[in-house]
């Protein structure tokens, strides 16, 4: 951490210390702070950089404006509770106070005065479901020309682009995802490029702006992609990378440039000699990876390629937070567990391209079986995200078919607390534990059943969806006045979810 040792900490430094995991550049003294012109500094005098030219001067140029929906304190009583903290509580009680989980326990747990009691008998409660791989908003519905904003497929390295700048908050997929229990999503750029750009974590509430959904204090991700996609896209243009080895050269070249860029800023901040480096958005993001403030979300199907990516990370001194579409994670499960890398997987998808050939339904179960593992089920799909609970159930069934003993109260982790860990928000949500955000789903039945529907979805303790109350079934602007709008399909009586 670099700061001026001869001065008291500037406000920026205080912010830096409080934030904890901010980037190196983020922790530098900001030139436009009052102290910067302080003649007592041991550093040579220099003019402050013009607005916007120092990456440290504004660490958060697109700040979250997220506000929880109006809420009341709630007690959910009588349900079967999967805490995602290792337990299943029959006839449980979940207390939510001021948007936070206040208590989780058995029937003896006292309900504080003033809490609205929700009858959970016959129903199930889980933490809000987290999808770590979503393209909602960036590849929205309708998927038509003019709305396809997920891949800046113009160069193998577009680390400078941010998915949040492509998010269309009116994507109807946010609403259907919420009706499937999704409370938090990590929205990523596509996988055409080696470096697709920054991913962003959002709270799944209706909002006019992206900033209104953006999760405060959630780390950014960097989408990286191994394998067939970058080499196909750029090889098809007779450009590098055209091969797997071209991919690796591309990753390494980019981190060499980023290390160099970081060294230049560090030196300039240290001695102030010469001109400051010109700010470079691409390298800025990669420097965030190098200093640990931005988490690598690495699309990588094959086990052998994951092993190479781990070596690249070691070469340049960064960590991979999660492999996505990790269809061969089961082949490297002990290594992934040892390295502390999450594996985000599907259950049923396979065979659509060569690197997906060896996908197996038992993948999550085998990854999860390792000590210290982090198995995650993700969607990458606006339909699948509505049913991540069922995708987990199919994985559990496959693992049991193989003879493994898998408890549902553990498997729920794959779309809750492990997913939170994969995107660096496990201290805030992902399990029903006191102090965490009140992100909760009440299911009509066991969520491992195909017949279970999300009855009610709470985000930060606020009711954001209610299957039986049209007042809590939001519609996007896009849906207004479309064919079928306002009409309810006629179905037979006495049917539906159990």
């Amino acid at each position: 951490m670099i700061f001026d040792r001869l001065r008291g900490p500037s406000p920026a430094v205080i912010a830096c210390v409080l934030a904890g995991a901010l980037s190196l550049s983020a922790c530098a003294t900001t030139p436009d702070s009052p102290d910067a012109a302080d003649g007592s500094s041991s550093r040579p005098d220099r003019a402050a950089l013009a607005t916007g030219l120092d990456p440290a001067s504004n660490l958060n140029p697109f700040p979250s404006t997220y506000q929880p929906l109006p809420r009341q304190n709630t007690a959910i009583v009588g349900a079967t509770v999967f805490t995602a903290a290792g337990t299943k509580i029959e006839n449980g009680v979940v207390i939510v106070t001021d948007g936070r989980i206040a208590a989780v326990g058995d029937a003896s747990t006292p309900v504080p005065n003033g809490h609205t009691v929700v009858d959970g008998r016959g129903r199930f409660v889980t933490p809000g479901i987290i999808d770590v791989h979503s393209h909602l908003g960036v590849y929205p519905s309708p998927g038509v020309q003019g709305m396809s904003d997920g891949n800046e497929a113009t160069s193998p390295n577009t680390a400078q682009v941010w998915a949040e700048h492509s998010i269309w908050p009116q994507d109807p997929g946010f609403n259907t995802a919420r009706a499937g229990g999704i409370t938090t999503l990590h929205i990523l750029p596509g996988s055409a490029n080696l470096f697709g750009g920054r991913g962003v974590t959002v709270r799944n509430i209706p909002s006019i702006t992206m900033q209104g959904m953006k999760m405060p204090d959630a780390p950014y991700g960097l989408k990286m992609a191994c394998g067939e996609n970058p080499s196909r896209v750029y090889g098809g243009r007779n450009q590098s990378p055209a091969t797997g080895m071209g991919n690796v050269a591309g990753f390494r070249s980019a981190f060499i440039a980023a290390r160099d860029y970081k060294a230049k800023w560090d030196k300039w901040r240290e001695d102030g000699e010469g001109s400051p480096p010109t700010r470079n958005l691409q390298n800025e993001t990669l420097v965030g990876v190098l200093d640990g403030s931005i988490m690598v979300q690495n699309h990588c199907y094959r086990a052998d390629e994951m092993a190479v990516m781990i070596d690249i990370a070691n070469e340049f001194g960064y960590k991979i937070r999660a492999f996505h579409h990790a269809v061969e994670a089961y082949k490297l499960a002990p290594t992934l567990a040892r390295e502390g890398i999450c594996a985000a997987m599907w259950t049923g998808w396979w065979g659509f391209k060569m690197e997906a050939l060896d996908a197996i339904e038992e993948n999550a179960a085998l990854v999860d079986a390792q000590q210290g593992s982090c198995a995650v089920i993700h969607s990458d799909d606006a339909e699948l995200t509505q049913r991540l609970n069922q995708e987990v159930a199919a994985s559990v069934a496959a693992g049991r078919r193989l003879g493994m003993n898998i408890r549902e109260e553990d498997a729920i982790d794959w779309i809750t607390i492990n997913a939170a860990r994969a995107i660096g928000i496990e201290d805030q949500t992902g399990s029903l534990e006191p102090g965490k955000r009140g992100d909760i789903v009440i299911w009509s039945a066991n969520p491992f059943s195909v017949y279970a529907r999300a009855d009610q979805v709470f985000i930060d303790g606020s009711l954001s969806y209610d299957r039986n109350n049209p007042a809590y079934q939001p519609t996007t602007d896009f849906e207004l006045g479309q064919p079928g709008f306002g009409r309810t399909p006629t179905v037979a009586a006495n049917t539906g979810a159990r």
């Binding site: 050939l357 195909v450 064919p483 399909p489």
Partner: protein
């Protein structure tokens, strides 16, 4: 974080070879879903490849008896709008024989000649309870191909990665998924043509052009059909279709072969129904995302629908009214529906049962959901009574399930096709077993030496 708890017995058990057909097999004690009813503690008897009785009686003397107590017994499921046996790895061109792009072989394209009984997709589908499939030529607007959002910018969304320049994509086949050298049950059971956006793009851009092209094509077929001798001596005006395509379309023009029409928009559905009446063509609607808006009209036209009930997003402007309740609404109106698997029902044909379950959770009666993956597909493709039901005389396609077959937590424990018990081994189960000990063998040798 959790212990690997594997019983050694399981590994030994799962490599059991498929049993050869003992002539008479009786499955007893299970909850039997016949396709049209439910029998508790039922007995299903198969002999010589067919079902001979379904009821509550005792197993016949001498039969191989399989105790299904506590389990559910169902007909094998039918994958409709499928590419099983016709496509191995979607992105590998040489392994895909589901679509043809020569404009002289469009309607005449017959998928049956490209079927591969050794396809590794078949055991995976079978493990999901699929025992029959309607293999349909891939076509613009169809549900084939991988619509993975990450890849969508360069894989061709909705086109299945394949373009057929003609309006007609070719002819579908019925296959069974039994092990052996011949999976073909019946070739040329239906013709395929895209309408809606995809059909418009084939015809020149506008929906209206598709209808003109279709009518003009059938006019040529009728002209050819009446004047084959003149055609052969070049005494007929020039026709835009090849002779092979003209020949293939005769049964469609005569109403003998149904036409699978890919169509989603409610307005387009109405026009397709009108076209069917005007031309005397038997229609099967494929997709019908907005079908619920015109359910009464579809029912009145007595036109069946192949649909995926989990399509609920306005993915395009022709599916803006897509709803999870589509299947339930069509069924309630009296439309015969068949429920599809996902992404062209090849690799993910196994998910057909989950789609049926999700239709149930959105209002489709359970019995209708079972019918939509068993008896209805057989009925739609002219095979009622021949397969898709547990009834005397039907093929011995039977699946024993650990529980409710629509539940993802349930697994198939035994699958019979034509009365023969099938191996439950797939390429995927082989991989899973190879790596279940963490990628190393106890003897220090690479797992590659493990088989």
């Amino acid at each position: 974080m959790r212990r690997l708890m594997l019983s050694a017995a399981i590994a030994a058990l799962s490599v059991a070879a498929p049993a050869l057909a003992q002539d008479t097999v009786a499955i007893t004690g299970g909850r039997v879903l016949t396709g049209t009813s439910v029998i508790e503690n039922g007995t299903v008897v198969m002999r010589s490849g067919r079902i001979v009785s379904v009821g509550t009686g005792a197993a016949p003397a001498g039969a191989r008896v399989i105790d299904a107590t506590g389990k559910t017994v169902s007909p094998g499921f039918v994958a409709v709008d499928s590419g099983l046996g016709a496509s191995e790895v979607s992105s590998v061109g040489g392994s895909d024989d589901q679509g043809n792009s020569a404009n002289t072989i469009s309607a005449s394209f017959d998928v049956s000649y490209g079927l591969d009984p050794w396809s590794f997709t078949l055991p995976v589908a079978r493990q999901g309870g699929i025992t029959r499939a309607i293999v349909v030529p891939s076509h613009p607007g169809g549900s084939g191909g991988h619509n993975h959002a990450d890849d969508s910018d360069f894989a061709g969304v909705g086109a299945g990665g394949l373009q057929s320049p003609g309006l007609f994509a070719g002819q579908a086949s019925i296959i069974h998924l039994g092990q052996g050298t011949d999976i073909l049950v019946k070739p040329r059971v239906a013709m395929v043509a895209p309408f809606g956006e995809a059909g418009a793009s084939v015809a020149g851009g506008a929906r209206g052009a598709t209808f003109t092209l279709f009518k003009e094509s059938l006019a040529e077929v009728r002209l050819y059909s009446r004047n084959k001798a003149a055609y052969d001596r070049a005494g007929l005006r020039d026709l835009s279709l090849s002779r092979a395509d003209l020949e293939a379309l005769i049964p469609v023009a005569e109403g003998r072969m149904p036409l699978i029409v890919t169509v989603d928009r409610a307005a387009d559905i109405l026009q397709v129904l009108r076209l069917g009446q005007e031309e005397g063509v038997r229609m099967i609607l494929d997709g019908a995302a907005e079908g619920w808006l015109v359910a009464e009209q579809i029912a009145a036209a007595n036109v069946p629908v192949l649909l995926n009930p989990i399509m609920n997003l306005p993915g395009s402007f022709e599916s803006r009214a897509a709803r999870m309740e589509n299947a339930a609404s069509l069924d309630a109106a009296g439309v015969i529906i068949a429920i599809k698997g996902n992404e062209g029902s090849i690799h993910r044909a196994k998910e057909t049962r989950y789609n049926a379950g999700n239709a149930v959770s959105h209002g489709l009666p359970y019995a209708s959901a079972i019918a939509a993956i068993t008896t209805n597909p057989a009925r739609i493709f002219g095979m009622a009574g021949d397969f898709g039901a547990l009834a005397p005389g039907a093929a011995g396609d039977v699946v024993i399930w650990s529980g409710d077959p629509l539940e993802p937590l349930s697994v198939a424990t035994a699958v019979f096709v034509n009365g023969v018990e099938q191996s439950m081994e797939t390429r995927q189960t082989l991989l899973a077993r190879r790596y279940m000990t963490g990628g190393t063998q106890a003897n220090g040798m690479p797992v590659a030496y493990g088989n």
